[in-house]
């Protein structure tokens, strides 16, 4: 069904072949793109995924990386939007202008992907979490 590659679409197929070959080019022990082979293999072996082909392992890694970076960039948009929003009370303005990945942005971004991430309001991340509850209110 799939290999009916007749209709002059050879460029597509060669692009795919090139892509798969490019997945092999990364150095195996260090890492390919974001997610190391070893980690992916660990998860694959736990889910009954059997394939001796390293390219497929890397394809999984690349897919996961794409997913995570999409989620992260969505969360980044949420974060930027929140920082750009005008703040009425000057005292409530967060002094830190760094872009920080927070649970709030992350759960908003993940909701679009069908992942419901509920975080505890009073869960203390670090000793300083409870100090400034003013910076995050909805």
């Amino acid at each position: 069904m799939n290999s009916s590659s007749g209709e002059g679409r050879h460029d597509d197929d060669s692009a795919l072949a090139e892509f798969l070959a490019s997945l092999m080019d990364y150095t195996p022990t260090v890492c390919l793109v974001g997610i190391p082979d070893e980690l992916v293999e660990h998860y694959l072996s736990r889910s009954g995924f059997h394939c001796p082909d390293l390219r497929l392992t890397r394809l999984v890694a690349v897919a996961a990386q794409k997913f995570i970076s999409e989620v992260a960039s969505d969360a980044l948009q949420h974060c930027k939007a929140r920082q750009a929003a005008p703040v009425k009370d000057k005292s409530k303005q967060p002094k830190d202008k760094r872009l920080v990945l927070t649970m709030e942005d992350l759960s908003k971004a993940l909701r679009e992907y069908g992942v419901n991430l509920k975080h505890q309001e009073y869960f203390a991340d670090s000793p300083s979490t409870g100090m400034e509850p003013s910076s995050r209110e909805e």
Binding site: C31, L32, G34, P36, A61, A63, Q65, S73, R98, L110
Partner: protein
């Protein structure tokens, strides 16, 4: 990209996290996710957010792998191929939709999901993982099948291409079976004893020696004990 996620990793390490069973995998995936966040443009991350995102990453990989494996199984194969994987990726991207999803006769190899993935790989820079990972620490070794070892499966309904049962399971099963076949059991017991001693447990004959020692221990001194011990051991070996 080169100065690695200083802030993130600092914040990660500040906090003593509870050790999950797969601590190594969790830690590695946290660093990988931190690197991805860094390339996206973040400067730092809350530890909890980073942990959740890396958890999501692990689950994503597992769901992808599981659905690819089940698609392969539906088609009567044990090994996953590219088409199964593409189909699984399409399934996973259904909630957001993808181009061409409405066409049931579309070619999997020209799937828009795969094409987007190619574009992504072309656009993203290679980020090497900060340090090499010991393979043994993460990867579970795949156990060889019965056919590879040239053994017959212990149960008749078990096909030969399946991986071998764990050694401990077979041993306990043999013990359960009782004293049906005498000679075989004897051989098994010997090999079990050898195995135990290889694994660092006490050898099988040790028990009897200790029992004798306890008998003599109360009455006499250390020297005698040692002597008895030696004699006893020698006897045991002869008996064997």
């Amino acid at each position: 990209m080169e100065p690695p996620a200083k802030h993130e990793e600092e914040e990660e390490e500040e906090e003593p996290s509870p050790r999950p069973p797969f601590a190594a995998a969790a830690a590695i995936s946290r660093i990988a996710v931190a690197q991805i966040c860094l390339t996206v443009g973040y400067a730092a991350a809350e530890p909890a957010a980073l942990r959740s995102l890396s958890d999501v990453a692990g689950r994503y990989i597992q769901i992808l792998a599981r659905s690819a494996a089940s698609i392969a199984a539906v088609h009567g194969r044990t090994d996953v191929n590219l088409l199964d994987l593409v189909r699984a990726m399409e399934e996973l991207s259904l909630p957001r939709g993808f181009a061409g999803a409405s066409d049931p006769t579309r070619s999997l190899l020209r799937s828009s999901v795969l094409r987007e993935l190619m574009a992504f790989v072309r656009s993203v820079h290679e980020i090497p993982f900060p340090r090499p990972i010991r393979r043994e620490s993460v990867r579970a070794r795949a156990s060889p099948s019965f056919a590879q070892l040239g053994r017959e499966p212990p149960l008749r309904h078990v096909p030969r291409w399946l991986p071998c049962f764990p050694e401990s399971w077979e041993r306990s099963r043999r013990e359960e079976e009782g004293c049906g076949e005498g000679r075989e059991r004897e051989g098994d017991r010997v090999s079990a004893a050898v195995k135990l001693s290889e694994e660092g447990f006490l050898p099988a004959e040790w028990e009897r020696v200790r029992f004798r020692l306890a008998c003599y221990g109360g009455s006499d001194g250390e020297g005698k004990k040692k002597g008895e011990h030696g004699v006893e051991e020698r006897e045991e070996r002869k008996g064997k």
